[in-house]
């Protein structure tokens, strides 16, 4: 099992930004720039040519067969580029990769799906594109269809599928790949929570079979659950490579990753004071689901679960919410009229702070939680970066953003009441 599966040495990838990448160069552009160079003018296109971006710079690591490696980092840190290089989609500018074994990559769900073809035809198409043999697809066909739960519609063109069915079928094909090395981009972010759970379970199964897996995700829970090792990329360079615990901690402390649930089952490690100890901090929705992806329009609950150890004390929970630039957005103390000033007898408690919908801006929110005993005041514990979540706007048109998809600044994003009226008392100027 100690055989090296992937050896990466001094890997770099350079992209040229500007004319070439932004728009497709036309022969005309080329002729024009050639002509202007001829006449000693127009340095514009030459400036473009020198406008290069290193998506990945001097990255080296080696992965043993059977290792499950998570890759984390902020958007633009080079994660996708690394996956594209490993999966041979694009070629390195410098450096070298040695891969031993059959590679399948899953950078997108449903690559090659054709809307006009039926579910059955697409399973074969997608399967072979992802590197399966047709016989292999035939063997697993029933399993794939059952996993996706689309038995009745398998001979219907996929253009008639709901988006959920489409994604489930696409993922089901991918989930049945059996390469020696599997490269997976953030594909677990599809479908509903139940399906995501199913996918994660499937991935764990794949990992248990001794396959080498590279797994990119923003979901730190999934990363820590699946991976035995995590590589943290920052600005195209390898910042940290180590155990999930250490790397994810560093990452979360840099205010980037998200983590909807933190639990402390071991009483020794749990944050605590004399009067109480922390059990868990969770981020959830009104529907009672824990999630690190929060719809901007929906309230989000920060749940603090703790155990009171001493009798006769009064408590006050608090949260501090920061955005990804580490700007403190607000502090909120517990304000539940039913419990204010009341003694809490020993036992388990759950305090939930509800941040209203249409209040936070889009992006990553990092939450510190603390619990104090009051009268007399006693700081019990404070957990920095306890949980983090992403606020997302689906741009359905009913948020403050409306249908506008461009950059939208601001620390908060309230949905204001706007009123409009046409003033009919003035005559229109011509």
């Amino acid at each position: 099992m100690s055989e090296i599966a992937v050896q990466v040495n001094n890997l770099s990838k350079r992209y040229t930004i500007g004319a070439r990448r932004e728009k497709h160069a036309t022969l005309r552009d080329r002729l024009v720039s050639g002509a202007s160079r001829l006449f000693g003018r127009g340095t514009g296109s030459e400036a473009d040519a020198t406008n290069v971006m290193w998506a990945l710079r001097d990255v080296s690591f080696s992965v043993k067969q059977g290792e499950v490696v998570g890759i984390i980092g902020r958007n633009g840190a080079g994660k996708s580029t690394l996956l594209k290089l490993l999966s041979r989609i694009t070629a390195p500018t410098h450096g070298r990769i040695e891969i031993t074994g059959r590679v399948s990559s899953l950078l997108e769900v449903g690559t090659g799906f054709h809307a006009e073809l039926t579910g059955r035809e697409n399973v074969y198409l997608n399967g072979t594109i992802l590197g399966m043999k047709r016989a292999e697809v035939t063997k697993k066909f029933d399993e794939i269809v059952a996993f996706a739960g689309v038995e009745e519609f398998i001979d219907t063109p996929v253009k008639r599928y709901s988006s959920g069915m489409y994604l489930r079928l696409a993922f089901a094909v991918a989930a049945h790949l059996q390469p020696e090395i599997l490269i997976v981009d953030e594909v677990l972010a599809v479908g509903d929570a139940d399906f995501q759970k199913k996918c994660l379970g499937k991935m764990e199964g794949v990992a248990d079979q001794g396959r080498t897996i590279f797994f990119v995700s923003h979901n730190m829970q999934a990363i820590t659950r699946l991976c035995k090792r995590v590589i943290y990329l920052e600005d195209g360079q390898l910042r940290l490579d180590g155990s999930p615990h250490d790397v994810v901690k560093t990452y979360l402390h840099s205010g980037l990753g998200t983590m909807a649930v933190r639990e402390w089952l071991d009483p020794v490690k749990a944050p605590r004071g004399n009067a109480a100890r922390l059990w868990a901090v969770r981020v959830g929705t009104e529907e009672g689901q824990y999630s690190d992806q929060i719809d901007i329009r929906k309230p989000v609950g920060i749940e603090i679960e703790y155990e009171v150890l001493q009798p006769g004390r009064k408590f006050r929970g608090a949260i501090d919410v920061y955005n990804e630039e580490a700007v403190l957005l607000f502090v909120a103390h517990e304000a539940d009229p039913a419990w204010r000033g009341r003694i809490r007898p020993p036992g388990r408690y759950r305090s939930i702070a509800w941040i209203p919908g249409n209040y936070l801006a889009e992006g990553t929110m990092i939450v510190n939680v603390s619990l104090d005993a009051v009268e007399p005041l006693d700081y019990l514990f404070k957990v920095r970066q306890a949980v983090a979540f992403h606020v997302v706007d689906t741009t359905d048109g009913d948020s403050a953003r409306g249908h506008y998809a461009g950059p939208f600044p601001g620390l908060v994003r309230p949905l204001l009441k706007w009123s409009n009226e046409q003033d009919l008392s003035v005559t229109q100027e011509r």
């Binding site: 036309t26 022969l27 070629a91 074994g101 059959r102 073809l117 594109i129 079979q209």
Partner: protein
Amino acid sequence: MAQSESIINSPRRKIILEKRSGLLRIDWAELWEYRELLYTLVEREIKVRYKQTAIGVSWVLLQPLIAMLIFTAIFGRMAKMPSDGIWYPAFILTALLPWAYFSQAITRSGTSLVSSANLVTKVYFPRMLLPLSAIVSPLIDFLLSMGLLFGLLMYAGIPLTWKVITLPIFILIAMLTATGVGLFVSATNVKYRDVGHAIPFVVQIWMFVSPIVYPVSLVPERWKLLYGLNPMAGVIEGFRWALLGKSAPDPFMMGVSIVMVIAVLIGGVVYFRQMEREFADII
């Protein structure tokens, strides 16, 4: 466990990715390994082509039939184009079918990479499979439409001879030419979309420099060498020879054509390999 066994037993190939690989190194083993993907891509193209059409595959017969009628009316009747004494509809259809195959093959392969950009940027496979599948898939249309031609020959009372068995040779020449051109065009189209716009014109011009509406006997003797540079001239002459009993194609002209085919093919492959590594970044 059966699954883990298959991992251990499968031969493990080492892949090395570096900045530069050889000029004309085609990984034949890899192409062979991916042959099923080629079938699948061909199958996809064929299936998708006639989905949601009312008369479906009938188009394969209708298109050459209509073209034959139009060409016969304009060139045969109105322009009184000579046809070496052969009944004009048979004369033109014998040329139109291999030409239709060829023009379909270069048009479809020329745009194959760009129209499958989502595949190119999301998954690895030998990129050559995309233009290749577009070269193969119109063969099916071609074979079906050959039925139409045989029907027409029977109707005209032109007997089939042993020469029919040489047809695959000429089709092979057409395929190889289309492959060379298709590789070149598709790779260029990734970077310069102008190519996509230019293809229809090139195909049209190419059609008129091929002996389709007119017989090759109309070409002055001193131009024959130059004319032979167009491999499709040899292909069409070959078809007429094999099916209509016309005189055999000029062996010198055929020789020039074959040299040309090989040159185009090698050039296409080298160029494609050269451009291939950039595809995903610029497509």
